[in-house]
């Protein structure tokens, strides 16, 4: 069992997302420790990109703040080396394909392995293009996470059959961001996955309240929350740590009941 599979072995997983470097690399590092302590089972760290086409305004703004602060992939790798001295919470990095490609995919994945990064989530790398990174991810033991969406239909079977680690189920149409109503066919999406392969499914996009998290975890193996947390970071800036920690604790409780 690799580190990603272990995430889901102990019950429903809560997966918080933050944009690395927002508002600063120090705060990001502290957030990782505190979120891990508050019950985060896997932490998704966004590597900021200038043109994040799958993100709504909240994460777009966070990416801008991080980039304006001079954040780069190298900043992330050195932060991860520090984190790994004391904290072993599984980490998935989310970024777009160009930052990886421009860095050199081979060098990027090699650094990921050295820095103790467990998985990559790349929203603009669909099933048809996954060989751009998959062979290199495999070589360095990084799990490349597959995504499915409400429009995937029959593609779900194809994607699921080759997926590893867990499947990121996009709950709703559109970009990331808090929603009152989540997509109505998420449960069916999860069911279709399970027909093909026994692989954990984590639901993301739109979730912000404990009620939504609880509802989703009734049929999913994990819940991913991004924009709601990034909003707290935006609101409190460098004072965000206790607020984010409390939020993570609350969300983890909601799905553990």
């Amino acid at each position: 069992m690799n580190s990603i599979e272990k995430v889901f072995a102990g019950g429903k997983a809560f997966i918080p997302f933050i944009t690395a470097g927002d508002p600063s690399i120090d705060i990001t590092e502290q957030l990782v420790y505190q979120m891990a302590g508050a019950g985060a089972d896997l932490i998704e760290l966004g590597i900021p990109f200038s043109d994040p086409i799958a993100e709504g305004p909240v994460i777009q703004a966070a990416d801008n703040r991080a980039l304006n602060g001079g954040f780069t992939a190298d900043t992330l790798f050195s932060m991860m080396l520090r984190i790994r001295k004391s904290c072993q919470v599984p980490i998935a990095c989310m970024t777009y394909v160009n930052p990886v490609f421009a860095y050199g995919a081979e060098k990027f994945m090699m650094n990921c392995r050295e820095a103790g990064i467990d998985a990559m989530i790349v929203p603009d790398l669909p099933f048809e293009e996954k060989n751009e990174l998959l062979p290199i991810c495999k070589k360095y033991g990084i799990t490349l996470i597959s995504m499915i969406a409400p429009t995937s239909g029959e593609r779900i079977r194809k994607i699921a059959s080759e997926a590893e680690g867990f499947i990121y189920c996009v709950s709703s149409m559109g970009v990331t961001g808090v929603r009152q109503n989540l997509g109505s066919n998420v449960e069916q999406m999860v069911r279709t996955v399970k027909e093909v392969k026994n692989i954990p499914c984590a639901i993301g996009f739109g979730i912000s309240t404990p009620e939504q998290a609880a509802n989703m975890s009734a049929f999913a193996d994990g819940v991913i929350v991004g924009s709601a947390i990034v909003k707290i970071v935006e609101q409190y800036g460098s004072g965000c740590i206790p607020h984010v920690t409390e939020y993570v604790r609350k969300m983890k409780r909601a799905i553990t009941r």
């Binding site: 990109f49 160009n98 969406a149 429009t151």
Partner: protein
């Protein structure tokens, strides 16, 4: 060749949410492009609505003035809506309608593609929403009002650099939000497969006509064809039918802005590196970490940090040459063509005129150059006046 690839370039690097939409589009396109009814309806529209074939005009005064190669202008500026954009838009909107879509969305830079899309949507009775960088809505205010007159809703895009790149981002985001009833009318030979192929096919009428017209007028092939390149749709349309005719030089003129050695440039071929963005692998202006660079050109239509994947491959194979043209050179050519031939070109097209001015005198009088005059310059008059220090507002 792998599906949707031009050498190593192209592909489909988009969120999963859009994958079924592009697959559906590819299937529909492959079906309708050979459907006699679709083809005849499109040809009818191109002829009676857009005004094709567009003229090939012998620029006698310019030829004489430069003292070298014979210069012809392919008058895409005389098409309905004033640019080559209508060629692609009529095809795509007709296709969208056949696919049962009731709404179209599009990005626009200078506004020419937005105007063309709004026009076709009005004609064919589809709802239309256009995304345009806020900075571009200001420098091309007339086109914004034109789109509104045509019944389109215009969304000024305030993210990023507020120009064409950001308009594409926002249109893609909108498409992921509402894909069922909506077709994204992509305006250039870029984006995920099948867009670069569809747009090139619809624009290839330009080069096909040029080949025929030059043959009638000169009894031979042209020696060089020139076109401006942002994403590269008019250039790809001009080049496509000549790719196999290796005696014909294919010259793409990209926007160097203040110069390729400054950071105020949009010359992707001269300053970019291979990357993956906006659904495609191609050349992009970017930093060492893959962050897309803010680019600059006086021309809103060429102010884009990437280039279509087929152009990237034509460059890799050496079949086409790509040259940078600065703001100053383009403005000078804009004024020159107005004065010399009584034709005011779009500032985008003026980039190709500028390079033709450079090379024509170096070529013999028996040589034939064709410049794609991709659009008319009415939209640019106020901006050029401001460039020259005259405060005119539309």
């Amino acid at each position: 060749m792998e599906k949707g690839r031009f050498g190593i370039h192209g592909g489909q690097y988009i969120p999963e949410t859009l994958m079924n939409a592009v697959i559906e589009l590819e299937e529909a396109y492959n079906h309708y492009k050979n459907d006699p009814e679709f083809v005849s309806e499109l040809n009818e529209l191109l002829k009676n609505y857009a005004g094709r074939p567009s003229l090939l005009y012998y620029a006698g005064k310019m030829t004489k003035d430069l003292g070298g190669a014979k210069i012809y202008l392919k008058r895409e500026d005389l098409n309905h809506t004033g640019s080559h954009k209508i060629n692609n838009v009529l095809g795509q909107v007709l296709l969208a309608k056949r696919m049962g879509k009731t709404r179209v969305i599009a990005e626009t830079g200078a506004g020419q593609h937005g105007v063309a899309t709004a026009t076709a949507a009005a004609l064919m009775g589809l709802e239309c929403e256009i995304f345009m960088g806020k900075e571009d809505t200001e420098r091309q205010a007339l086109n914004v009002f034109r789109m509104k007159l045509l019944g389109a809703k215009v969304h000024p895009v305030t993210s990023g650099t507020q120009t064409l790149k950001d308009a594409v981002n926002e249109t893609m985001r909108e498409w992921t939000q509402r894909v069922e009833d909506t077709h994204y009318v992509l305006g250039s030979v870029m984006g995920p497969h099948p867009f670069p192929t569809i747009v090139r096919d619809f624009q290839s009428v330009i080069g096909r006509e040029v080949k025929q017209q030059v043959k009638e007028m000169e009894g031979k092939l042209p020696d060089a064809v020139l076109a401006c390149v942002g994403g590269g749709s008019n250039a790809m349309g001009m080049f496509y039918d000549f790719i196999e005719d290796t005696s014909v030089r294919l010259i793409g003129c990209e926007a160097a802005g203040r110069g390729v050695d400054t950071d105020k440039t949009a010359a992707t071929m001269a300053t970019g590196k291979i990357g993956i963005f906006h659904g495609m692998k191609s050349y992009f202006c970017q930093d060492g970490y893959g962050q897309i660079a803010p680019v600059y050109s006086i021309s809103a239509g060429l102010d884009y940090p990437g280039v279509g994947p087929e152009h990237a491959n034509l460059r890799d194979t050496g079949r086409a040459e790509y040259v940078p043209v600065t703001d100053d050179e383009a403005v000078e050519a804009f004024e020159y063509l107005s004065r010399t031939e009584g034709i005011i070109p779009a500032i985008e097209s003026a980039h190709a005129v500028a390079y033709a001015k450079k090379i024509a005198p170096t070529l013999g009088k028996d040589k034939v150059l064709v410049i794609c005059l991709s659009g008319r310059g009415d939209k640019d008059v106020a901006a050029i006046a401001r460039y020259r220090g005259v405060q005119i507002y539309e």
